[in-house]
Symmetry: C2
Subunit: 396 residues, 2 copies
């Protein structure tokens, strides 16, 4: 049968990362391509203990239907945290639990944008969310990301020229794929521009709690008066991604629309997982756990940077992230980036070609993404040596 | 701020059930309004045991990111079952795990329909899915449901007159809200018509395993050659809804599109929950468990019908379901149905007004939905007495 799919999905493709990940399933490939937290960063024993407790004391609550807004205790826990951080405005905002941060972004797009409406994102940006936006057939416009956040002049130009953009999507902390942090100054400027052009901001912050050096920068939402910013967070990187628990904090009217869409999408997020997260944050040493995983990632990131500097020619530039899971390499102009990535995977090191993170895979980029959270130390050392060899082959 | 929401969600409202459920939160209200499985139908002890086992033997697999298609072992388990039932065509079909049956319906709509495309459903039908379809701004057309399934002549007329309908949504087993089963003859006819008009069918079967009397009727999909039917199933009614594990079996091309949309919606379904379902189906007495819950629901359904017959005037008609969780009451013409439901909830019995299940809440209906799975036996007895009193007030 010749299926007539919707226009929304006709051109939609599985992400380039997904394709690369197929290679990483081969046992002898060192993967710098995934975005998985380190297995040793999971509080497995605590989750095992909590699971036992819930299933002994309160199994029916964990197994029965629940409300779309989420497990009431977890919502209260998160509200308290976000109010303390200045993210949530208790007068104007509300909060809903989502099935991971990905669903937060998807539902934000669904409620705010019609087909062909413009959504502005950083270029490059997180491929999962870009594809999610594309699945609503919106007009995706990328604004170049500089070392300290979006190019503000270009953002202004885009806001002026595009047909009334509805949403600006930013990942201000340790951005995926670059590891870049948006400066406080730029956070304020992006918010000012959004307000001037009557546009919403989707601030995606899955990595904010994994800062392992430098000073915390307040969120974009904390500078807002509770009107223009939708803030998305997640337990995927700080507890466990398999649980699929994230959240959105936004003005009440927006949360109300997101709630209806959430209800008709998956009714509610797995309630057992929500109870596990709540119990872990409240009754275990969550801050101590965060300290521990920051230290794991600080070490892994340092090791990768050290090994890259030792092995790879200076003309290949790398970001030096202060947190998160990723760093971003850029080859000199004229070097064949896709060829480089292909040669690397043939030599058993998988990295993600930068095109995967552009609004269109036909846009030019010399960059590629490296993940330091998944590989073991010896894999980081071996993989960087191989990347050094491949680099020297391509840069003559 | 005056938010400009997308056209898709501007008119979207929380379901009428949801509003009714607010009353049911009051401690002294007897709820015939929910659709929750009976708490005693959950295999709580087994799930507790399985959770312990997974968290002891394989915690990282349960906590790490997984693939969008779902936990490979659970997919194999389901494929085997569906092939054995004649549902899955092993040559042409594939299967993906979803976050409950609701997501199966949502993603099917998203991949198949553009805005304003026509989707045909039974009238009445399950409000959660109808709202999900509305959230994609499709043109929803209801075809009256008779005692043995859709009115086939009206379905044919609709297929002819509507602007090339893309999808026919049916719940052939113990339909929500009516409890009606579509006859084998009609299942075949609906499939023939879909093929003749080059239209897909979404067969939603969350209740199929809860047949407590009568003979099993093969699924619509089992009559198909693997081309026109998308089949959705769920563990919500047979294991536990809080886990949010469902599945879709459909032609490979369709599953491939659904997979991309699933990936950008919530990446994958909670993996711990998928492992729990797989373990329970394979290594516990799943068939024995099904027998047990069928018996629970058979008794509850019989009790409710008995008590309604005893207390409510004969002029109020009720369906006599052979499975599922619901039955459908219809007041005589001229009686104020909404007033009846309001009076009932004021007397502390919540039922759902039939308008909630129509394609538009302005369409006329004399009916209301009763759920027999959630209330305890003494609540069924007391609630039916009250419904008797309210009926006599309204029918003079």
């Amino acid at each position: 049968m010749n299926y007539k799919f919707s226009d929304k999905v006709t051109g939609l493709q599985a992400s380039a990362i997904r394709e690369i990940l197929k290679f990483t399933a081969l046992p002898d490939v060192i993967s710098f391509a995934a975005g998985n937290p380190a297995p040793e960063a999971f509080p497995s024993e605590q989750i095992a203990e909590i699971s036992r407790k819930i299933m002994t004391e309160n199994p029916i609550a964990a197994l029965q239907y629940s409300i779309s807004e989420g497990y009431p205790k977890l919502r209260e826990t998160l509200k308290k945290r976000l109010i303390a951080q200045g993210v949530m405005n208790p007068e104007k905002d509300d909060l809903i639990i989502t099935s991971g941060g990905q669903q937060a972004a998807e539902l934000s797009c669904k409620v705010m944008l019609n087909e062909h409406d413009t959504l502005i994102c950083e270029a490059p940006s997180f491929t999962g969310c870009l594809t999610s936006f594309k699945s609503y057939n919106v007009n995706l416009v990328g604004v170049p990301l500089l070392d300290d956040g979006m190019d503000i002049e270009k953002l202004k130009d885009t806001l002026k020229s595009a047909n009334s953009p509805k949403l600006i999507y930013v990942i201000p902390n340790f951005q995926n794929p670059t590891g870049i942090c948006t400066s406080e100054e730029k956070r304020r400027k992006i918010l000012d521009l959004a307000k001037r052009f009557d546009c919403m901001i989707l601030e995606d912050n899955p990595y904010g709690d994994i800062r392992f050096s430098g000073e915390t920068i307040p969120s974009v939402k904390s500078f807002d008066d509770g009107e223009n910013v939708i803030y998305a967070g997640s337990f995927s990187k700080v507890i466990a991604p398999g649980l699929r628990v994230g959240y959105v904090c936004a003005p009440k009217e927006v949360i109300s629309k997101i709630t209806v869409c959430k209800q008709v999408s998956d009714v509610h997020t797995n309630i057992f997982a929500q109870m596990i997260c709540d119990e872990f944050v409240n009754n275990y040493d969550f801050e101590g756990h965060l300290k521990k995983i920051r230290e794991i990632y600080r070490k892994k990131c340092s090791l990768m940077i050290e090994e890259l500097e030792k092995n790879v020619p200076d003309s290949v530039k790398f970001t030096h992230p202060e947190g998160g899971l990723f760093l971003w390499g850029t080859l000199p102009d004229g070097v064949d980036m896709k060829g480089f990535c292909k040669a690397a995977v043939e030599k058993k090191v998988a990295v993600v070609p930068g095109v995967a993170f552009m609004t269109s895979e036909t846009l030019p980029t010399q960059s590629f993404r490296l993940n330091f959270s998944t590989p073991r130390d010896e894999q980081i050392i071996k993989g960087c040596k191989i990347l050094g060899d491949v680099s020297r082959e391509f840069i003559r």
